[in-house]
């Protein structure tokens, strides 16, 4: 079984909630779902749609041709009917116009239910699952789980839709239930698993969902989640908290990240751990706020004035988001450096399905001295470049500073100490590199003498395209700083045809590969219209 379902309607009319709910039901039945969200930057009106890819087998991206369209308005039909498969159909109210429409008397049902118009969504859900032969009782249970106190009226609406459809393509249970999780939820769960104490942010799409999720969990997990006046305050306050030994993360998109860069530099010299979640969207500047891109790669790699060690890591799906977030906290705390965790709208706001959800086995310790000596030196010079860390309140004087300093953290300007301290900080790179080598900085998928190279959220479309591509492997680069140059170089050199796949205009990863390995990748598949890559898009481009 493989289906692609589109759900569309005006903003605020429920298409996102419906899509996720349908996805969850399929997951519960053991199916794999990928849920893609597409919405403009407005609150009411406009046109939002979701594409649900449903399959018996793992799936990580959305298709371009639809089996079923669930239409909450005429616009959905007008915009998407052209991509309806020949044998596909549209489900919607009797007021809609289409030759492919299976019409439901929505007006009548809503009147009968004496409920709000938004119940249309649930009527469609009832109809859809009767069509797939799913038990009504099961749907009611799921509705109760999902909507709690509101579920009574929702169940009634589901019943109405259910009663109007006929079982046509009965689906079987496909094993035990699966997990459905978005990239942003993965980042949040990873942070909690890593021992997050403080999350600070200023709202910015597409990172906002992390702020919302963690704020909701504030009491349950005894964490601090706070929205401050701007991203500058966010990043500097985060370092203040980090100074006291708290595990902190901040989250934003490109514009907010621009404001945070002064603090990334500060994290570098003050040697205070900081995890920055950068969820990219289409730029430059305001760009296309609710759409996706991978345009900030070099900005992240180069973020912060001056030279200091940092890590840049980019998960490729929601499970990786969990693990990479935990790795970010680990590396940041152990080496006392800023770590930039890069995602984008497509990773953050899409839902992925997994059989299992794993967290990392890395140490979650704070890497603090238990009993710092009285003559404590915050910036003690060591071979590894890492100074054993203490925090204020433990006893001795602990210092952190943006100014160049001696081992005690006192201000200096002399040449010798300036040189020594630069060398001390940069010395950390050696340990970081070794550590990252153990964290799967690159992953290889498939077999073949040709190679596709990608990073971040394009993984889903590439992995889904791979079985349909002849003789191709896929190299996913997850750590960008430190760059796994030997592994990347080796894979490129042993391949016949090498294609770079990125969601940006100029192929930024290609530039980094050239800078790091001296190899140039000439063939590029680049998408920069704000939309994510799909398997079909890649297949078409590869075959050209």
């Amino acid at each position: 079984m493989k289906k692609t379902i589109l759900i569309g309607g005006e903003a605020g009319k429920g298409s996102a909630v419906t899509s996720r709910f349908i996805g969850k039901i399929f997951c519960r039945l053991g199916y794999y779902v990928f849920n893609y969200r597409n919405y403009p930057s407005l609150i009411r009106g406009g046109h939002n749609f979701n594409v649900l890819e449903i399959s018996e087998n793992p799936v990580y991206s959305q298709g371009e041709k639809y089996d079923i369209i669930l239409a909450l308005d005429q616009k959905t039909i007008d915009l998407h009917q052209k991509n309806l498969k020949e044998e596909g159909f549209i489900l919607g109210g009797a007021d809609l116009q289409s030759a492919k429409l299976k019409a439901i008397d929505m007006e009548g049902i809503i009147k009968k239910l004496e409920g709000p118009r938004i119940l249309e969504n649930d009527v469609l859900i009832g109809w859809l699952f009767r069509y797939f032969g799913v038990e009504e009782k099961f749907l009611f249970q799921e509705a109760e789980k999902e909507f709690g106190d509101n579920s009574a009226i929702i169940q009634k609406a589901i019943k109405e839709g259910y009663g109007m459809a006929q079982e046509t393509e009965k689906i079987k249970k496909n094993g035990d239930g699966n997990y459905l999780i978005s990239g942003n939820e993965g980042i949040s769960a990873g942070a909690l698993s890593a021992g997050l104490d403080v999350y600070l942010a200023y709202p910015m799409t597409p990172a906002t969902a992390v702020l919302h999720y963690l704020a909701k969990k504030e009491k349950e997990y005894n964490i601090i989640v706070s929205q401050l006046e701007n991203e500058i305050a966010v990043a500097n306050a985060a370092l203040g908290a980090s100074f006291t030994g708290a595990k902190v993360m901040v989250g934003t998109s490109g514009g907010g990240f621009a404001l945070m860069t002064e603090a990334i530099s500060l994290s570098g010299i003050s040697e205070l751990p900081l995890v920055v979640y950068l969820s990219q969207r289409t730029g430059p500047a305001t760009g296309v706020p609710t759409y996706t891109a991978q345009g900030d790669l070099k900005f992240a790699v180069n973020a912060g004035h001056g030279e200091f060690p940092k890590v840049v890591v980019a998960p490729g799906d929601a499970q990786e988001a969990i693990l990479r977030t935990e790795e970010s906290f680990y590396l940041s705390a152990k080496y006392r450096i800023p770590v930039i965790l890069m995602g984008d709208k497509h990773l953050g706001e899409s839902d992925y399905t997994f059989k299992e959800l794993k967290n990392s086995s890395l140490s979650k310790e704070r890497f603090l001295l238990n009993n710092p000596p009285e003559d404590y030196r915050s910036y003690k010079i060591t071979d590894s470049g890492v100074s054993p860390a203490a925090v204020p309140g433990q006893g001795p004087v602990v210092r952190a500073t943006s100014y160049e300093h001696d081992e005690y953290g006192h201000t200096i300007e002399d040449a010798e100490t300036t040189k020594k301290m630069n060398e001390k900080r940069i010395a950390k790179n050696k340990g970081i590199k070794k550590e990252v080598e153990k964290l799967n900085p690159v992953m290889l998928y498939g077999k073949g003498k040709n190679l596709i190279i990608g990073w971040g959220s394009t993984k889903g479309a590439i992995v889904d395209a791979l079985p349909r591509l002849k003789d191709f492997r896929f190299l996913q680069i997850s750590y960008i700083v430190p760059f796994p140059k030997d592994m990347v170089k080796e894979e490129i050199e042993k391949s016949d045809r090498v294609i770079l796949v990125e969601n940006n205009v100029t192929g930024l990863m290609g530039d980094i590969i050239t800078e790091q390995t001296g190899l140039e990748i000439k063939e590029k598949i680049l998408r920069y219209d704000g939309r994510p890559l799909t398997a079909d898009y890649i297949l078409k481009a590869v075959k050209k």
């Binding site: 239930g177 005894n222 708290a246």
Partner: protein, 288 residues
């Protein structure tokens, strides 16, 4: 504790005779007295500083501290308080630092009301960058970037702090160490965001000592819980030097309000002492 216990061995690089020395002494005296009165602990003091002449104080006080970026002493102080609410947190800022680069933080932290003390060294000029106008420089101020004189009237930080909801608003004078020490002590003891503006003449680029000598007076008997009166009083002096207006020092306003930290049920414990054991299956189960 004595003042000298808070001294460091660092070379003092303020100009000879700089009134910042007075602030340095008054802060240490205030801290020593509070420690001796068992109100605070030395090991639990943490300071933050911005960038500018004021910030050199980071090197001269022997307590834990964070020498941050220009304008950011306040968010750093707030972060320190979030991470460890047991700490006694003092922020140091300059006038350019706090009211130009860091203005948003100042206004919002007056509202946040975290239990921190913010001491602003106001010399009404950027001095470390060799004498440019700041938001509190008087109209007509001649500096390297305003050779024909600053065009605007200065802002009034006391009025601004009041309007922004600060719960403790005071002004003192770097050359009145006794008054300054007492004011700082009161500010630290106040539970909430305590703002103390310290008039700190710059003897190189903006020597206002003669004016202050003649016009400063201590507030006495003013009703510090009456917002309207405090606001009216804040307008008495407009930060200029040619109108022969009196300059009041003392507490303008002090009220009790819930603090930023009160929002969190568990705060009261430093984060670094939290032993976090997460039930992964429970968390993951949410997504099933």
């Amino acid at each position: 504790m004595e003042v000298k216990d808070f001294d460091t061995k660092e070379k003092n690089t303020w100009c000879p005779g700089c009134p910042n020395m007075g602030i340095n002494q008054a802060v240490k005296l205030a801290l020593a007295e509070l420690v001796n009165e068992n109100k605070i602990k030395t090991k639990d003091i943490a300071i933050s500083a911005g960038i500018g002449c004021h910030a050199k104080i980071y090197d001269y006080i022997n307590v834990s501290g964070f020498y941050g970026l220009h304008g950011r002493a306040i968010p750093v102080a707030l972060g320190i308080k979030m991470g460890n609410p047991e700490l006694t947190v003092l922020g140091f800022g300059g006038d350019g630092d706090t009211y130009a680069e860091g203005m948003a933080h100042f206004v919002h932290n007056c509202k946040h009301n975290a239990n921190i003390t913010m001491l602003v060294h106001n010399n009404q000029t950027f001095s470390l960058t060799t004498g440019q106008a700041t938001p509190t420089s008087e109209k007509g101020f001649i500096g390297a970037s305003t050779p024909s004189g600053k065009q605007e009237d200065p802002i009034n930080p006391i009025a601004l702090a009041l309007a922004s909801g600060a719960t403790f608003v005071a002004r003192s004078y770097a050359l009145d160490p006794v008054h300054l020490k007492e004011t700082i002590k009161r500010a630290i003891e106040h539970k909430g965001f305590s703002f103390v503006e310290i008039l700190q003449p710059c003897i190189i680029f903006h020597n206002t000592i003669p004016y202050f000598k003649e016009h400063i007076y201590r507030l006495e008997g003013n009703d510090i819980q009456d917002f309207s009166k405090a606001f009216e009083l804040s307008g008495e002096w407009d930060y200029s030097f040619n109108n022969d207006k009196r300059v009041s020092i003392g507490v303008f306003y002090e009220i009790k309000k819930s603090t930023f930290e009160d929002q969190w049920i568990r705060l009261g414990r430093p984060c670094y002492l939290m032993d976090r054991k997460l039930d992964w299956q429970k968390l993951a189960g949410e997504f099933k």
